[in-house]
Symmetry: C2
Subunit: 305 residues, 2 copies
Amino acid sequence: MCLVVVGSVAYDGVETPHGKVDRMLGGAATYIGLAASYFAPVKLVAVVGDDFAQEDFELLAGKGIDLEGLERVPGKTFFWEGKYSDDMNDRVTLRTDLNVFAGFQPKLPESYRSAPYLLLGNIQPALQASVRAQMNGLRLAGGDTMNYWIRDFRGELIETLRDWNFLLINDSEARMLSGEYNLRRAAARILDMGPRTLVVKRGEYGAILFADGCHFIAPGYLLDDVFDPTGAGDCFAGGFIGYLAQRGISSADSAIDLQELRRAVIYGSVMGSFCCENFGVDRFRTLTREEVEERYREFKACTDF
Amino acid sequence: MCLVVVGSVAYDGVETPHGKVDRMLGGAATYIGLAASYFAPVKLVAVVGDDFAQEDFELLAGKGIDLEGLERVPGKTFFWEGKYSDDMNDRVTLRTDLNVFAGFQPKLPESYRSAPYLLLGNIQPALQASVRAQMNGLRLAGGDTMNYWIRDFRGELIETLRDWNFLLINDSEARMLSGEYNLRRAAARILDMGPRTLVVKRGEYGAILFADGCHFIAPGYLLDDVFDPTGAGDCFAGGFIGYLAQRGISSADSAIDLQELRRAVIYGSVMGSFCCENFGVDRFRTLTREEVEERYREFKACTDF
């Protein structure tokens, strides 16, 4: 079943210990959409400038992503530049040019509005809410946020979260949002805010799913080399929602099937791990669905006891 | 089958965000021995001063730990004092008084020498080697080390490791010992040094087992409250070797049974998690074998997919 993905489409400049790329395709919606496209038909909502390259358009279209909602306006595409630390656990932002993204007002094409799945990438909470409000017949909706919105747009964010079925954030964001350091207690507080499912991402250490009074701990995949972690969290989100959309999972009646949620977390981890294997979105140029399934089996093999 | 445990028996002063204890029973061999005693008969080798309290002696003896090898000499028992950071991921050592531990020359009672299992706690590598040399008929031997020995006694440590079946260290120690940041590559280098099994402990994030070309990732247990993490790594070691001793696992012919090693890592994680639930060794005063099994099942439940 098809899935609407909203967020940034951008150009990134990235430096890691493995090299430096001055300008390459990036942005949360790009990563989410590419990762999700392995599981379900994706409909993208984003804005780019008139500098957006035809080859990048073709990469997305080539994955079957519906680009009717990719608005093209005069000006430059969102540009972000960052540099990673030697261990790649930290990064500094060197430059953020919002460009056309500053005026982003997501408008859903008519053909998007009845899609049953919605993934709201990290943008201003009020914009996330406006997208949510444009849709009807949703089976499952949720998304991501970040420290900036948690700190400076707290009321607006909490209002927005009420209508979500799931929230995907990292551990420091979960601590900031809940005011609790301990993750078990942080999760309990966040689950009181609306979403019945919470996934706390822990970078190289994997992720924890909290739902329905239970939790599930997924390890991070042990990569031989991390080339570029940019977008890994978004690819996690794409794999997670993509799998749930593929399976037609619904939040309609009660809690979501816990076993399916666990598998969705593993598929999220799988897609996040592939993302790190090359710069930017490059790994998705060659990645096959068979490789995705093979890595899912590897996760099984390295956690079973 | 019985197990010889060598290392420090100490008094600790510990401050965590949950409180402060000026002096309580501690030391690597104490924690390893207590944790292992839930699985197999333990024979302790350590040294204490004439200030060592009768009640502490009784706590160990009450767990069935053989104390014939616990030497008592004139002077004071090893004393360590430390303070944890607010998130308990860091600690500073405020005081280290080696006292009688400075002259520790482990001598194994005759009745210990044919024990089939040996766990060498973190002491000088040459002393670990001398203990290993006093034993015959070992089915499995291994232990722990730390940054100080890796940096300043490297040659001696590498010589010592050659005779071990397994090594248990934390992630930063694995990186320091191997010279590789990536854990997969670090593990490959360390497995070339002698031990055929490596367990890399990752604190709250769990542990990774490397053996026989495979790896197994165990999560950390999500505690509601971490009262005091002192000794958690040693309790991990105690649960790990204790389980292998209980099951009579041998390295005699080839690689150790991988499924049993995986279960041993989980039992290690179980014992490490209990250790954090109270100050010092206090949790072991009341912990039952039934609670250990219950937590093992919890690990299964929160990792299965």
